[in-house]
């Protein structure tokens, strides 16, 4: 906090009619800010008036700025009147419709820092904001983390305004609302709540608006921070929001009555409310034939189960209940373990941690080096470890299968939660065999049973399967043909559940 700021970092100074006073205030605020461009020029012919330009370098489209403002101001204000300079400049001096008035210093500074150009006119305690933003961005990138065979390749980017366009391009409806607020007293990060006004439940919109205002934070740099700030189940590894980088997925969620939250500088949109089932739905499920979509869904659910259960089940069966296996398997496992110097528990945890380290290192390393690491770590070290009898080949298979299965879940934060829960099941299985395994699964189920995302039980539609006339189960483990999905899911308003009817005119 300084003399010019209050405790919430808002500018306390007021706009003055005197341009020199305003320039002094602005100069004080932007001391040592080399990127801020400030220039005072005089316009008019007979009646001259001083104006002051203020913008952040490279956050504006300079070419456009020259054409729509400076060139126009210098060339078209020869008949400047003796008074009402402000209105005259606003009406005649600027060749753009995207302008507005700013009446407070706080607003003025926020706009400048957001990429707008401010023109202060001498003798007026207000300013003109000209929106000629032109910040560097990656354009519309290709989706890398949620790759789909069918459908759009577009992905959200860090540029907030591009993300808004990507949604608007998909939902051309006046009911599609984008409520924008700023979060972070220093970062002033733009956050947009996107929803269909007549379909989304108003209480959920109000709820997220309330939650966004619950905390005052210095800055938000990504949707992940906002997610942690607004969630209720802080101590659960399972996310309360679904994240996506795909605009088509976000748009589809909005059509279902859910809410998408866009955060400036974040290429990920947050979707809410969410359920366990949502995390297993990939965007191209809707674009594929229902049989194929159903088969892949079942694979994902099975993959998720393997990802959570396989190492624990392996330990429980190997150490306590080998009778479950066929004799050939049991003997083969026993023979493979013969001479391994570590216990099964240590062996599994060691391999699991080694794999997670490889994964983490692979993410952090540049592309070509990442793949080299995979080969060195996975193949060479793995093979050497088996040959040296440090680990049994069965454990390598178990861990590899577990890892592959985890990647079938099309949502990384959700799959990460599974990775953590896996260790609980491993430990319980190691000490209590199948009983421990069941204990672990029960603890997980009880935990999931108690989770809610914005009032929506996490286990819907598997728990409360009768709701919404039982139609939510049509797009769960099994995805019925598109024509059978006539109703919107439980996320939407009760009166707006119909989404598909036969066209009677045809």
């Amino acid at each position: 906090m300084s003399l010019l700021h209050d405790e919430q970092n808002r500018i306390t100074a007021a706009l003055s009619k005197s341009l020199s006073e305003n320039i002094d205030t602005i100069s004080a605020l932007f001391t040592d800010c080399a990127d801020v461009i400030k220039r005072k020029i005089t316009v008019g012919d007979l009646n001259k008036v001083d104006i002051y330009f203020l913008y952040v370098d490279n956050m504006v489209n300079k070419d456009l700025l020259e054409r729509v403002t400076i060139h126009q101001l210098l060339a078209s204000l020869k008949d400047m009147p003796a008074k009402d300079h402000f209105e005259y400049i606003k009406e005649k001096g600027l060749r753009t419709v995207d302008l507005s008035e700013v009446i407070t210093m706080n607003e003025l500074i926020e706009d400048v820092l957001s990429g707008d150009t401010i023109i202060l006119v001498d003798g007026f305690d207000k300013a003109i904001k000209v929106s000629v933003k032109g910040m560097p961005n990656r354009g519309v990138p290709t989706s890398e983390n949620e790759v789909a065979i069918h459908g759009s390749r577009e992905s959200f980017s860090e540029a907030f305004y591009i993300n808004r366009v990507l949604l608007r391009r998909r939902i051309k409806d006046t009911n599609f609302k984008i409520k924008q607020i700023k979060v972070g007293i220093r970062t002033h990060t733009d956050v947009a709540i996107c929803y269909l006004e007549d379909v989304a439940k108003p209480e959920i919109v109000a709820n997220i608006e309330k939650r966004l205002k619950e905390y005052v934070i210095d800055g938000i740099f990504d949707s992940g921070m906002l997610e942690q700030l607004t969630e209720r189940n802080v101590y659960s590894p399972f996310p309360e929001f679904q994240t996506t980088e795909r605009p088509d997925k976000a748009a589809s969620a909005i059509l279902e009555g859910r809410i998408a939250i866009l955060v400036d500088n974040s290429p990920m949109a947050l979707l809410l409310p969410t359920t366990l089932n949502s995390f297993f739905q990939a965007s191209d499920d809707s674009y594929s034939r229902w049989e194929v979509a159903t088969f892949t869904r079942i694979l994902r659910y099975f993959g998720a189960f393997i990802s959570i259960a396989l190492p624990g089940l392996y330990i429980a069966v190997i150490n306590y209940n080998a009778e479950v296996l066929t004799s050939a398997m049991a003997l083969s496992f026993a023979a493979a373990r013969d001479g391994v110097p570590f216990s099964v528990l240590f062996e599994v945890i060691m391999m699991e941690v080694a794999f997670q380290m490889l994964l983490e290192a692979g993410i952090r390393l540049p592309g070509p080096m990442g793949s080299t690491l995979g080969i060195v770590g996975g193949l060479i070290i793995g093979d050497a470890a088996v040959n040296a009898n440090l680990v049994s080949p069965i454990v390598v298979i178990v861990i590899a299968l577990t890892a592959i299965s985890a990647f079938t879940v099309p949502n990384e934060p959700f799959a990460s939660a599974f990775r953590i829960v896996r260790y609980l099941i491993i430990v319980l299985s190691a000490f209590l065999g199948l009983f421990g395994f069941i204990l672990g699964i029960m603890i997980l189920l009880i935990h999931l049973g108690g989770l809610k995302s914005f009032g929506m039980p996490y286990l819907v539609p598997f728990a409360a399967s009768g709701i919404n006339e039982g139609t939510d189960t049509k797009d769960a483990i099994v995805r019925l043909p598109l024509r059978a999905l006539k109703r919107r899911p439980i996320f939407s308003k009760k009166t707006e559940r119909t989404r598909l009817v036969r066209n009677k005119d045809e």
Binding site: Y235, N319, T326, A334
Partner: protein, 751 residues
Amino acid sequence: MFSNNEKISLRQLKRLLVFDLFSVSGLIIPRIATATAGRDGLITIILAVLYAFIYAWILLSLSKYTGGNYLDYCRRSLGGILTFIIGVLYIAKLAVGCAFASRLFGEVINQTLLKDTDPRIIILLLLVVSAYAASKGFEVRARIAEVLYFIVIIPIFAFLLLGLNKIRFTNLMPLFTEGAGDIFIGGYNVFLTFSILELMLFCAPLIKFKKADIKRGKRLFHSVSHAIVVVGILDVLLFVVTLGILGREETRQKLWSMVNVIQVIKLPGGFIQRQDAIILGIWMSSIFSVISAFFYYISFIGKYIFHVSKQNYLLIPFVLLLFGACVIPMETEQFFYYFEYYMKYIGMPQSVILPAVIVFMGKVKKIKNHKPALKILLLITALASAVFLTGCSDMTEIEDRNFVQAMGIDLSGNELTVYYVLPDLKALTEQGSKEPEKLILEIKGFDFWQIEELYDLKYNKRLDFSHLKAIILGKKLAKNPKQLSEFLTYVENKYELGRNTLIFTSDSTAKEVISLNHDLEGGIGDFLDRLYRINLKNTGKKVITVGDMVFAMNEENPVISMPVLKPGEKTLETTGLGMFYHNRLAFEVNKKEADYMDIANGYGKNKLIFLTKNQEEDTEEGKGEAISEYVVKIKYITRTLKFTTTGNHPLLAIKIEGVGIVEKGFMDTGMVSNKANAKIIEGIENRCNNAVKTRIAKNLEKIMKKAKIDFMNLYRMTSYKNRKIWSTYADKENQFLEDLEFTIDVDLKIQ
């Protein structure tokens, strides 16, 4: 949005009730029903379901009078002090039920899945995780039940259906052999397992109805009835499968005898060797539901009477209290005895009398009717308990076990010699092979427990019977009923030793058979397993397992026909059948006699019938095989038995029908007319039928009439085939065999 109002739908209530009613009672119902009414246990279950309907109706009616909130109504009618006492009575009852359920499952898990783990740890974790579920509230319990419903109930139901083809009808029939009193008392005893319906009094206000629903009461009763019917069907199925497979004696021996049934039923597909651990695991998921229900209602009532701000605060003290109650040094059977006694005379009457009195008092007074820290602590306790268990659980890693593949037992004098055949793990990893003699462990002792103890002192790996494929009995042991019974008792009490393990008898000593381990492909265990699975089963031999022997021991009279092995030089041959009766090898037949015994028992598929060049020699022992003119292979066979009486004697009509093909001696070349062919075939058919008929008749005369060995178990069969004969010859088996007259009709069609 879903509100956090602790209300559940009728569908959720239905599923929750199924779980609560079935999870514990399913384990003990076969025992309760059999103990009081034997075979008529089936009727007691049906009666119990009827009682349950009436009970539910009474409770729901009383609940309606209280306007939903039972405890509030109670306070208004009887005042605070009496409500407190009533609350304590309910808590005590729920606590006893909870302790019994935890203890029972603790024991089942301990004896089946975690043999070396301290049962107290199992119970503690069971209680903590259930309390954690209860802490999440009624809604969460309902959600979990809804998710688990199809994962638990459907597989168990399907599994029990698979078990139906293993049942012996002689164990189930005839019905109505017990007195009406026993049946009604049995019905009441079984009905006690439905006592959890009492909790409807408390949960009625927690059901969500549509505001304008004027048929709430009807809908509620309909849902409860639906749950009772589902549980009733499951209970009947459990009873039929348990009694049908284990027999009356074994079913009533152990409180959770039905768990043994899980071992016997085999799942299709070859991925799982023994599915009992998997099914028990699935069943285990449901136990959390019922124990969490106890915890939920205990804390619910406790909150009301102890005036605690949050009901979850009461969970930790109750976990500790109930843990203390569960580990009281007392046999589970004894615990059950007291529990059953309490429920019969106090618990059940109390569940109707108390609400009735309360409602009556309310009417008299004309009272008008007018609702995360702990959870985390519970979860941490559960996790911490697991972590602190390091060292408590005595696990043995897979490479530290000696998986016994085959077991041979010889008897000399009073001393037993047991041979354990181990797998050659080194050969599996292609690291060479162990010396063959090291793969057979030989231990002498006077009983099996002593032998196990000697093993522990001599060897460094744990003895594991979970992959035991075959047991070979030496002839002397087979003929010694005392020692054989002792062995079967050992098997019965050793859960790890699968009931579906194959059993053979040697025509000399078990050692001679076992010593062939090195010469037989895959070792003796694997050899015998494949011999049965591929060849013997394919030629119509009935699979005989150690479970059949245990069953025979408990039920006393059935005859078990066990394959006899004859060791040769580097080969092993099945030479016939040994008939075990009253726990001893009572009679032996050769291979050919055994074949016709199988045909008489309806197991003749793929058997060969040899017809000699000299028609008169068709039925003579040993002739056909040597100089056969025709060989007929049976493709399909059925056997029907009909019992009637002729004069005062029982008459048995055996009818054998089937289809065969001529494998040798006849070829339709087209050179001979169809008519001539038909005549030849007719001739073969007649000779074949005659040969089968004569040989079966000889077997019946020789084995049944002379040796008095009921190898077809006809005497037991009369129990469901002809009740009159059964009651006439009750406990007079020899007389029955003596009096039995029979006719044999064989109709094998040659294709």
